[in-house]
């Protein structure tokens, strides 16, 4: 990325900042990614998602995925699966993070801080309990150290411990208790 033309741009297409200069959490970027995947793969996002994610992870139950009439996926959200399949997704990413190659590299990088979520718990605009952001994953959890997290609407959480195979998955529709959930994850991940 250091030599990529876009990375050297004076400012982002949807931003007043240079790429990587300022963290701004918004749906525009993943939605753009969804359009890019559709065009680059030449197939509906749902078909790409099936072959690139759902089949490899071994999804066992029906689910739903949001896609617009032009077949672009709603890449910032819109995946609905049963808990068992979210567990499969979580375990699949853990396994993938140990594999050599492009996807393994991506998963490892996704779980590492790529840009700081500056400020404090009190001042951060989004992701208040996270000091960093990887690729579509939150890092530097203020409560559970050495973890990376996938956050879903309404308190859905997947947390991966970066130094062990321990994973924490919350299937919820309530955001209120996230600090407590992170503390529970921290305790689970510290079990020897």
């Amino acid at each position: 990325m250091a030599n990529d033309r876009n990375s050297k741009a004076a400012r982002g297409v949807f931003s007043d900042y240079k790429p990587g200069e300022q963290f701004s959490y918004k749906s525009t970027d993943p939605v753009t990614l969804g359009i890019m995947i559709h065009r680059a793969s030449g197939q509906p996002m749902s078909a790409w998602f099936q072959s690139a994610v759902l089949d490899p992870m071994g999804a066992a139950f029906p689910g739903s995925y949001a896609q617009d009439p032009k077949l672009n996926g709603l890449a910032d959200s819109g995946v609905r699966m049963r808990l068992q399949d979210w567990l499969r997704f979580a375990v699949w990413l853990r396994k993938s993070s140990k594999e050599a190659g492009c996807f393994g590299d991506y998963v490892r990088d996704a779980m590492r801080t790529q840009i700081a979520n500056s400020g404090t718990v009190a001042t951060r605009k989004t992701g208040k309990l996270f000091g960093g952001y990887g690729y579509l994953a939150w890092t530097e959890n203020e409560i559970a150290p050495d973890t990376a997290w996938a956050l879903g609407h309404g308190g859905q959480r997947i947390g991966w411990h970066l130094k062990s195979d321990r994973i924490f998955v919350a299937f919820s529709n309530e955001e209120t208790w996230m600090p407590e959930a992170y503390d529970l994850a921290k305790r689970w991940m510290s079990v020897r």
Binding site: A90, V91, R94, D165, R166, E180, A181
Partner: protein, 41 residues
């Protein structure tokens, strides 16, 4: 934030802790994850 409130939340959601000895607790399933899932590698 109260322990009672957190306990109520825990009873209404499903949480899976995956690892060498996976555990599952939640509202409705009452199964251990190991009965549904392969162990992570």
């Amino acid at each position: 934030m109260t322990a009672k409130g957190f306990a109520a939340w825990l009873s209404a959601v499903a949480i899976a802790c995956i690892g060498p000895e996976s555990v599952f607790f939640g509202a409705s399933m009452g199964k251990t994850v190991t009965s549904m899932m392969p162990e992570p590698g």
